[in-house]
Structures are given as C-alpha cells and as structure tokens.
Symmetry: C2
Subunit: 228 residues, 2 copies
Amino acid sequence: MNDPSHLARCAQLAMVLEVAAHPKPGNVDRDHDFPDTTFEHFLASAVGTYPVLEEAARSRHGAGALIHAAAEESLRWQRGGNTHFGAFVLLIPLLMAAGSDTPVSKIVLDTTSEDAVEFYRAFSIANVRIDSVPDFDLGESNSADRIREDGIKLFDLMKLSADHDLIANEWVSGFERTNWCADLITKKADTMSINDAIVCTFLQMLAETPDTFIRTKFGRDKSIEISE
Amino acid sequence: MNDPSHLARCAQLAMVLEVAAHPKPGNVDRDHDFPDTTFEHFLASAVGTYPVLEEAARSRHGAGALIHAAAEESLRWQRGGNTHFGAFVLLIPLLMAAGSDTPVSKIVLDTTSEDAVEFYRAFSIANVRIDSVPDFDLGESNSADRIREDGIKLFDLMKLSADHDLIANEWVSGFERTNWCADLITKKADTMSINDAIVCTFLQMLAETPDTFIRTKFGRDKSIEISE
C-alpha cells in the first residue's frame, strides 16, 4: 500500500482528474484554458513531475527541496508557467507521510529553515501569484538570509499565511480540509461519475471558502462573486 | 535523452494528449465517452501503467510480456475494460528501441514465440475487439501450445494480420505510419495548438485509412462512413 510508485501514481491521477474535471468556474478544466496556461500544460506538468512525486514518497525530510524540484520539473515539461504549484505544496507532504507511515502533521512540523529557503526558490521560479506575507515578502531577494539567520522553518512561514491562504492553512491544520474533500469525493463517486464527484466537491468547497487562487489572480471581490 | 524515466513520461504524455484531443469522431476524447469506457478510464490507464513503460525503456527483449504487464496494470487502475491496448502494442517496442539504441525493426524482428504466447494472454485479459486471424484465432485456448510447437514469433503473428490491422502493419513496416504521424504533429504544432495538431493528424490518417478500431468495433461500413 505504501509502495512509492503506487503512491506517486495516486497523486498523479489526482492531479490529472482534478484538472480534467469540468466545469470548474474560474479554473482551468478540460474545456477552459487561461490565456497563457492550457489544459494540456497541466497534463504535461502532471506527467513530467512523476519522478519527484515518487521521490517524495521515499522521503521523510526535505519537503522544501521536493517542492522546488517539482516546480522545476513542471516547467521543463510545459511552457504555461505555474501549473500545479498549490497541488505540489499539498501533495508532497502527504506523499512523504504516506510513504514513511508518519502523520502528515509531524512531516510539516519537522520542516527546517532550509525547507523554507527552498520553498522561496520554488516560488521565485514558478512565478506564483500570492498574497505576500508582510514580514517575509516572497519577492524579496534577501529573505533567504533572514530566514536562515532567524531559523524560520517552512512550517512557521505557513503559519504566517494560514489566515489568508487555504494551502498554508492546510499545513497548520493537519490537512483537515483536504481529508474532508477526499472523503466527499469518495462518497459522491458511489452515486455519480468521478467528474461530477470532483466538481460537486469543488463547488461545495468554493461556496464555503472563496478560492485562494481565484482571489489572488482576480482579486477578492471576483472570488466572492464566483462563490455566490 | 534515452533515460528510461524520460522516455516513459514521453510515452505517457503521448497517451494522455491523444485521448484528450477532441473531437476525434468514433473515439473517446475529453468530451466523448463510450457507454462503458470513459475519458477518465483512459487517464487512469495512462497514469497506472507508468512503471511498465519505464521497464520497457530498460528492456531489449520481452515485448510480449511487457504488453501483457501493461494490459494487466491498466485493468488494475480502471474498470472501463480495454483502453490503451493498441497504444501499448505500438509504444512498448518503440520504448525498447529508444532505451537500448536499437532500431525498432530489429526489436520486433527479435521477438520469440514466448512473446507471441504472452501477447495472446494480454489479448484474452484485455478483451480486445479484433478481426481474428483464421490460422491463429486469438480466442482459441489451444493457440498457445500451437505457437510454441510451431515456433511462431510475435513478429510472425503480426505478419498474418498486417493486411487488415493497422497496428500489426506498423510492426512489419518499421513503424512508418507512426513516424509519419509524429512528424506531422510536430510540424502542425508550430502553427496550431497541440490539440488541433493531433486532431488534424488523426483526421488526415482517418481519411487515408479506415480506423481499425472503429472498423472492429462498429464494422467496416461504419468505419468507411466516418472516413468520408
């Protein structure tokens, strides 16, 4: 069950089914592209990053470097820019946890300042749109030095963003929402297609929490409009 | 360039982009399912068979066992029945050739009667629709014994089907049509989206040769009707 290749393929399948699921208002799906990022860019990213996902399922430490490696490998396989950055930040600690039989809350708590520095590097190459953290602006080039000097762990960085970023919030809350969604999809898939199970879960989550991605891309007002 | 993981991901991406490309009259695409086989079944099959594709890129012999393993692994990951059988029969020798720097014509010529027996096993589990070969009915259970006794290689079996099956024809003609399609897609992708490049190439091929799959599934008349 925790064969690294099996786990990596599960993560890859999740990425592929998620991006294919349609319609997902405000996101790329099989019938909706962004101007510079298409459905096919996401498919190529999910395929190309397989070895990093498998490496994550063999690793107990190094979440930051793995997220960085995934972002790099993704960009090697497609020219649509940032595709799965949020997915990597969620899936990599989950793969590490599943592969090493360790609670994911412990995996993220054990991150180091080196993980935080690698995470910054991943951000800068992936050109991710984010709400910046005032104390540690992710665009600021001397942040790496400050992180090392102050001994800030990646987990600490996530805590700073947890109130305004859904993914950071998952890191500090034991991936509660992720597990809730996984359970919902599994239950719904008993009575509807996997596409509809994913879309209904997406819409349910969107109704409860304005999508961070839509918010950072189009602004909070647009995000709330789509949620309504 | 012939890193097995890189080659396997290229094959996987080809499978994913091909099934996603739309519209493909008579085939599954992102917007068209068959009653029992959906787009998502194909995605799961492409994801699940990665390790077999990588193994093929490390192998110089054993095409039959690899095709059998791919068909088995595909069925472990989805319940839509035969999805990529034709793709495996084409991609596995191509991966073996690319991974071992051997001409693909030599890879297929070097197949043995053990490859032929394994291929029969793959057929029987994948429940593939085919025009049967009169001399070696693929549904006949004692064919394996006859193949071994007569020393029939997998390449010989393909020769028997080459006049009425496009994939068998590729095996005995040095994968000429496959290379022609790959070149067409590459050229077209300079001036159109990857989706359109694949679809235009598909339609061009369909216009020239009635699709074996459509023919075996719906009959030759329907296949010619779709080609027209």
